[in-house]
Amino acid sequence: MKKNILLVGANSDVAQAIAKLRAENGHALWLTGRSLEALQPIVADLKLRYEVEVSAFVYDAETSNPEALILALPGLPDEVHLAMGYLGNPICIEDAAETTRIMTVNFTAAVLLMNALVRSLIQEKRNAVLVGISSVAGDRGRKSNFLYGAAKAGFSTYLDGLRNFGYAHGIHVVTVKPGFIRSKMTAGLPLPGPLTATPQQVAKAIVKAVRKRKGRVYVLPIWELIMLIVRNIPDFVFKKMNL
């Protein structure tokens, strides 16, 4: 059955990889991004490669109204991938605007959009799968990226609750916690090879999780182990560590 799939933050490498996998199966794609111009090559590419329906919509986490986006869509989606994210300056405690931006893109706007979608889905009695791309950074705050981590922790917790809430309404929620991904967001950063996934690997894991109705997924299994250890380091040790 052909599905309508909404990809929020479609300019991201992970979203593009998901789009390709879903287009391969003939599904229709609705892409959102901050600028239509930036989405244009992605739309053209998907149409040319897979001969599927692809349309693009402007949605900016910081300025757009989620209700307006939903109204602009041709209908309600069967599957949503929320892939927007903003790593930001890791230590920006002096910079209120940057802090707000990190919180808005990774948490507030993400939650408001998911809420709006779920409201409409329940109203129309529609089943759907909602995928939120969170992060292992949310599993425990570390000094190197705790603002981003805090926002992602909030988002992970929200997704856990939403999964519980959505169950009765036929809405399934997937929380994805990729570790390092080789992508635009991490371009130029030195990343440890064995712990770093490609956007294609992340996309594959996500599509599999959707198919198998999984709740939480780490993309590389090693991250589940790493974060288990990180979470269990006693705080009197952890606070002195350089992570």
Partner: protein, 404 residues
Amino acid sequence: MGRCYGDSALSAHIVDARSLNHFLDFDSSSGLLTVESGVTFDEILQVFVPRGWFLPVTPGTRFVTAGGALASDVHGKNHHVDGSFSDHVLWFDLFTASGQKLRCSRTENADLFHLSLGGMGLTGIVLALAFYMKPIETAYIRQHTVRCENLDETMAGLESYGNWTNSVAWLDCMAGGKAFGRSILMLGESAKLQELSPKQALNPLKIHSTKGIPFPIDMPSFTLNRFTVQAFNRVYFNKHPKGSQDSVVHYEPFYYPLDKVLGWNRIYGKRGFTQYQLVVPHQDARKGLQDVLELLAKRRMSSFLTVLKIFGEQPENYLRFPKAGFTLTLDFGIADSLWPFLNELDQVVEKYGGRLYLTKDVRMSADFLRRTYPMAQEFIDKLKEMDPVGTFRSLQSERLSIHA
């Protein structure tokens, strides 16, 4: 993709174009395809073969990007009929050293257009390009194979079968005496639907297999020596019966026999290999090729894969390699004795008015480039004018004193 055999794509800092991997437009009436420069030939085939279109020109591997194909001005088995890849490019967008994005074509920024064809990426970063694809009825090739017993037969064969779109000769560089220069000549024409076997006709536009077999280990570097190469060549040559044979084969074994084995270069061992591709003009080509092959025998060097092709007419254009004549490709495992030998070969190539392909080169001298490419100095002067500090450079451009 970083697949250049030499140092053309190496530098202290590298711009990886693989994220520029979007197909942008296709006009099915003219076959004009517009892609970002990081899209690979492999991807283009996967998308367009099922729709009845093929690349206008392809090198012996599909693991190259469209931008790289332009910068290397790649050629294929059809050069004598279709020219090289650049000849099919209508326009491209170039990001220049001055930070501008310029549309370049034969009518717009024409000089920059010509400088960039085969310009080894030194004029800037190609962002997107448009080129004409070729319509095909099937994904198969009608192949005609001819066994040529010596160099004269080989060269005459390549010339007399010039009306075939694709032609190439696999040469046994180890054979001496009467069999000197013997080869298997392979000719190919895109097959029509009625030429396919019933089994092939079930899926006439079948794409290549996307799974490769990884080559498991680095072989010891003595694996390919004169004796094993000689033995291999003898077996391969004799596998082909005298005279000629006809068959219909898929494009994958015809164009990309080595792509099936991922990391096949590991057969050369840890030290790797280099390719030496030369072209000699028709006049005295017979003598030139003989001198090259004789020097190989005299110095007891062996080339595992030796390929001879014919180039059609092509106007002299800056650093573009092809010109009318014969082009010979030799593969050598890296060894200390190789470098002085290749210097000797250079002398033979120059004597017969030939030159070497920059995309395969890792060792020619700055002087040799200037002596064998008549427009090299003009290229360098114009490049300096556009980009005085040499923003876009490579280890090769530094080695060849194109950049200081």
